[in-house]
């Protein structure tokens, strides 16, 4: 049952974002994330919010799915907000006893919230609209120039792809092994650190052996299907840019230009 968990949380719908080339999405997401960290002010975040909203609407994925990952970092966000709000020096707005809230603190806290949430929402949109195999294809393509300096691009992409394929299977196997050892009276909870580490041996040894066995079988199966490395291979789902990709790149350039202008040249309001 564990293996039925879908990795990468791909959400199946037909939207212009889904149909975009994986490389476009990868580059756009990367550029977007960087834009959140360079010299920022409130204008930049407003524009960033605007573009994020456009992406959210365009991708046609229900909002609750996009926000799903946020629950995990709620605690982190809260801690960041509190720390920054109360511990930053600056112009004091409010003061109870010894604890003060400053404009600076408020500003930094707010920006932190924007940064983290936009980063997560932005990445979520990418993983929700791109299948894992599409993603690895995109990465392989983007990394191709590195071949010139002898980086084994195809092999890395193939490894990533196989790893993604086997993670659910290995997770399920770990669960099975754990249960089998528990059935023999193993104890993974009690004891000091050393004892707990030792108790992992009956899980790790069989798991590693199993992983090697699978790798061996898989290699044989790949060879039996004429796999001999990246040379001479064609692609079933080749990547190619369409009009919508070029448009997205254009919008991206405009966005980055706007961010740089607003970030560096417009006098700071806040």
């Amino acid at each position: 049952m564990l293996r039925e968990i879908t990795l990468g949380q791909y959400y199946q719908t037909n939207s212009v974002v889904h149909r975009m080339d994986a490389r476009t999405k990868l580059i756009a997401t990367f550029a977007y994330i960087i834009s959140l960290f360079i010299r920022t002010n409130i204008y930049v975040y407003l524009i960033a919010a605007f573009f994020l909203s456009v992406a959210i609407i365009a991708c046609r994925v229900p909002f609750k799915h996009i926000v799903k990952g946020m629950k995990a970092i709620m605690v982190l966000l809260l801690v960041t907000v509190i720390l920054n709000m109360f511990w930053t020096r600056g112009e004091v707005i409010f003061q109870i006893w010894k604890i003060s809230i400053t404009w600076e603190g408020l500003r930094i806290a707010l920006f932190m919230v924007f940064r983290l949430s936009f980063l997560i929402l932005g990445s979520n949109i990418m993983t929700l609209t791109t299948t894992p195999s599409n993603l690895t294809d995109g990465l392989e393509s983007i990394m191709r120039p590195l071949k010139a300096i002898r980086v084994p691009v195809h092999e890395i992409a193939m490894m990533m792809s196989i790893a993604l394929r086997f993670i659910p299977i290995l997770m399920e196997e770990t669960d099975k092994i754990m249960k089998a050892q528990l059935a023999r009276g193993a104890d993974f909870e009690n004891g000091n650190l050393i004892k707990k580490a030792k108790s992992l041996v009956p899980i790790l040894v069989p798991l590693f052996i199993s992983a090697f066995r699978r790798a061996n079988d898989l290699a044989m199966a790949m060879e039996a299907r004429c796999y001999r490395g990246g040379d001479g291979r064609t692609k079933m789902k080749p990547l190619h840019y369409e009009g919508r990709d070029y448009l997205t790149f254009l919008i991206l350039i405009i966005y980055l230009a706007a961010v740089i202008c607003l970030g560096y040249y417009v006098p700071k309001f806040w």
Binding site: A180, G185, A186, D187
Partner: protein, 283 residues
């Protein structure tokens, strides 16, 4: 030893749209010395049920009583329960990890907190019970053949001296002779040690040959709980559930249809042979 399963209910993917009742109000009583077969198609709930019997899974409602005590009550010693309710998973050789066979089999009794002498004595006994020759005791378990590895894994559970031994598809992947040898050994063990054995299996022929009682599960519910003879007489209903009766059941039923008058209740080759010979006036 008495295991009572009381209104057990367990759901997968609780609270989501994909929620599935893996166990739907299951009630059973397992007594000492019985040799029981548990059959059902993939997804019928057999593995889920069996993992509740030694508290590896916790039910959503209902409970299990071992010798009168509720095993899911707070403070119940689950480790000691697992020493009494021994569970051998499918492909148990995948759990082997020790440097040698003997140490592997000592793992179980050692975890129960027994003293060194008792642990070693039990390990020796268990290995003998599965027919392992002395020369293999100090070899790495990974150097053994598939069938030998499996016997070591079973010995490692036997070494805890369980009162009930549950085996999930113990013959999976073995060749015909390997299957017969293993099941014969388990039957001998059951008789000699007087323990209860619960055999979870897909193979009707295997089950019919060895057990005294068959429990049939389908979609999380117990559909039949009776002698093999009784259960296989419902072969048409079994087929609806994606199961089948042993070949001999169909052979005898076909013969009956074609006019040969004979007793259809045989479930093994020997019984079928006798029935047919009788019909030809040769017994």
């Amino acid at each position: 030893m008495k295991l009572i399963v009381d209104h057990l209910r367990y759901e997968y993917n609780k609270g989501t749209q994909l929620s599935v009742a893996a166990l739907d109000d299951v009630n059973l009583v397992l007594k000492a010395g019985e040799f029981i077969g548990l059959i059902g198609h993939t997804g019928s709930g057999k593995s889920t049920l069996v993992q509740h019997l030694n508290a590896l899974l916790t039910p959503d409602s209902g409970t299990v009583y071992f010798d009168g005590e509720d095993i899911f009550e707070k403070g119940y010693d689950k480790k000691s329960l697992r020493g009494k309710v021994g569970l051998v998973f499918q492909y148990p050789e995948h759990q082997l990890f020790e440097e040698n066979v003997f140490k592997e089999v000592c793992f179980g009794p050692h975890n129960l907190g027994l003293d060194r002498r008792t642990v070693e004595l039990r390990a020796y006994e268990a290995l003998k019970q599965v027919g392992m020759e002395d020369e293999y005791f100090y070899q790495s378990p990974f150097d053994l053949s598939g069938g030998q590895k499996r016997r070591v894994a079973i010995a490692s559970v036997l070494a805890m001296k369980p009162e009930i031994l549950i085996l999930d598809e113990p013959t999976a992947g073995l060749d015909p002779k390997g299957r017969t040898e293993l099941l014969d050994r388990i039957k001998t063990l059951q008789k000699e040690a007087g323990i209860t054995v619960l055999l979870v299996s897909h193979s009707m022929e295997d089950v019919a040959e060895y057990v005294d009682r068959i429990i049939v599960m389908d979609h999380g519910k117990v559909q039949y709980d009776d002698t093999p003879r009784e259960v296989f007489s419902h072969y048409q209903e079994l087929e609806q559930m994606g199961l089948s009766a042993p070949q001999v059941t169909y052979i005898l039923s076909d013969l009956n249809e074609k006019g040969l008058v004979l007793d259809q209740t045989a479930t093994t080759i020997n019984e079928a042979k006798d029935t047919i010979l009788k019909c030809f006036g040769m017994r």
